[in-house]
Amino acid sequence: MADYTPSEMMIVCSARALAGERVVFVGVGLPNIACNLARRTVAPDLELVYESGVFGARPARLPLSIGDPTLVSGATSVCPMSDLFMNYLQGGRIEVAFLGAAQIDRFGNLNTTVIGDYRRPKVRLPGSGGACEIAIHAQKVFIITRLKKRAFVERLEFITSAGHLTGRPNQRKSLGMPGSGPQRVVTDKAVFRFDADSGEMFLSSIHPGVTVAQVQAEVSWPLKIAADLQTTPPPSPEELRLIRAELDPTGMYTT
């Protein structure tokens, strides 16, 4: 048995991916902890921007939602939603953003809207929130989600947020999307990246103790695998200490 949880592995992978980044758009839960871990390790200058309009938050407790009042008190700035979407996100100020999804396809397109027919849904999901625009405007997108066959699907039932679309070269650019789209998918079993030419997801790094077959079993399409497939380095003792002692002491998100 590993001495860390799958959630902790996801947090650590996400944090490491933020090395050197400066402005990240963050949701609560795992991405929040990952960004805070990155600030204390690989990205000391990282600025966390919350979708609720908060910058430079100094939360006195682990926030319960992106609108938690603890994010506001002691922040460096708080702005209305129109400023957030117009001047920060559309204005090109966001370098990295995290997105989750109920369904993802091989090009990193995401569905958070509906399972089944839109007008007669089997399961009604939350919808876009800011995700549709984040996927267009953030310079890079990191996706965090658990690896499950019903999530990694051949064909989305609804496209809420654009990834690399159908994989045609320059397709995002020709549609007028400033951001470069999804760069990584961090899961509890492996990390995926995207081929620069085809836009297709490939297995880039596999977590310790997981086999390629176990990963393929949870992905609905024949998965491409990196020639130099890595084994994800496990969380370091210092990373685990920061998560457990400082960032999520009650284990709300990490157990």
Binding site: G67, D68, P69, P80, Q90, T113, P126, T160
Partner: protein, 310 residues
């Protein structure tokens, strides 16, 4: 003097069939107004809100709405909005028409509504199905670059309800914390009900005019309703009652339990004072549990400029 009781404000400004926006992103959610609307039995409302949250889950469970205009359906930090899902997936208690945008799309709709623009442009809805599901999202061509850019139409509610920390008796309203789209919703609406934790002297407002988010010019009624955003929060006044948000996740999974909750907590009381009494009977220490510590802003000097022709 626009101060009035919630009952009167709702009777006067919220009518069957109206388009209603109760705004406030995660914070300042006007539950006191929502409960009064439910209690007065309003029907066929078109409810607008970026994040319908528990407030519209309750109103939709109570059968107030025929339509929902929104951008994110969730119980923040907890999970699904089960009543709204039940309405959309199973037509319970009645069918619910939906008109769906992204957050930025909703911001754009309110912005266009406030500014009486025929549309608001935003770089969104590229390569996705949202605009296919919602034909009100259109595209126009820029005369400068031939770029096609999405546009959304104005949203002009019949009435907006805005919860805030304080206002004067005339309706000049100050907010701090998350500002969401309250200003835009208020300017876009035909009528505005402001609900506040405190009515303050005009001198308090005048000591910091940049803090006034909603000016009296657009306000029809001011309702003094402390703790009126419970179980959501008001920055500096009380915390979110997260226990209730979690409890609602259980209650709302079942239509019968939901109805029982509405019977007890909405229909079973006369007004918000009755709701608060019940709340404090159940948990005498609730206000202490939700009370934040003090974190005061440093004052700024606006300056007295009384001398002629300095």
């Amino acid at each position: 003097m626009k101060i009035t009781a919630m009952r009167n404000a709702v009777t006067r400004y919220v009518h069957d069939g109206d388009t209603v926006a109760i705004e406030g992103f995660t914070a300042f959610i006007g539950f006191a107004a929502a409960h009064e609307i439910i209690r007065q039995g309003r029907q066929n409302l078109t409810l607008c809100r970026m994040t319908p949250d528990l407030i519209y889950d309750q109103m939709i469970a109570a059968g107030c709405a025929r339509k929902l205009i929104f951008s994110y359906l969730g119980n923040p930090g907890v999970g699904s909005l089960h009543c709204i899902r039940r309405a959309i997936e199973k037509n319970i208690p009645r069918p619910l028409e939906i008109e769906e945008y992204s957050h930025f799309g909703m911001v754009g709709r309110y912005t266009a509504g406030a500014a009486r623009l025929p549309f608001f442009p935003l770089k969104s809805y590229l390569g996705v199905d949202i605009n296919r599901a919602n034909p009100r999202i259109q595209f126009v061509t820029s005369p400068y670059s031939d770029e096609n850019i999405a546009v959304v139409p104005p949203l002009n509610p019949d009435v907006a309800v805005i919860h805030a920390q304080r206002a004067d008796a005339n309706g000049n309203t100050q907010l701090w914390g998350l500002l969401g789209v309250q200003k835009e919703a208020a300017f876009a609406a035909e009528h505005v009900i402001v609900v506040v934790e405190e009515i303050v002297d005009e001198a308090v407002i005048r000591s910091d005019p940049n803090r006034t988010v909603i000016p009296h010019v657009v306000v029809d009624a001011v309702v003094h309703q402390p703790f009126g955003a419970h179980p959501s929060y008001v920055q500096g006044y009380y915390d979110r009652d997260n226990k209730f948000y979690q409890e609602w996740d259980k209650i709302s999974r079942d239509a019968g339990q939901t109805q029982a909750w509405l019977d007890e907590w909405v229909f079973g009381v006369d007004d918000w004072t009755g709701y608060l009494q019940k709340l404090e009977t159940r948990e005498p220490e609730i206000r202490t549990r939700l009370a934040p510590g003090q974190a005061l802003s440093r004052p700024v000097n606006y300056g007295l400029y009384g001398r002629e022709g300095a």
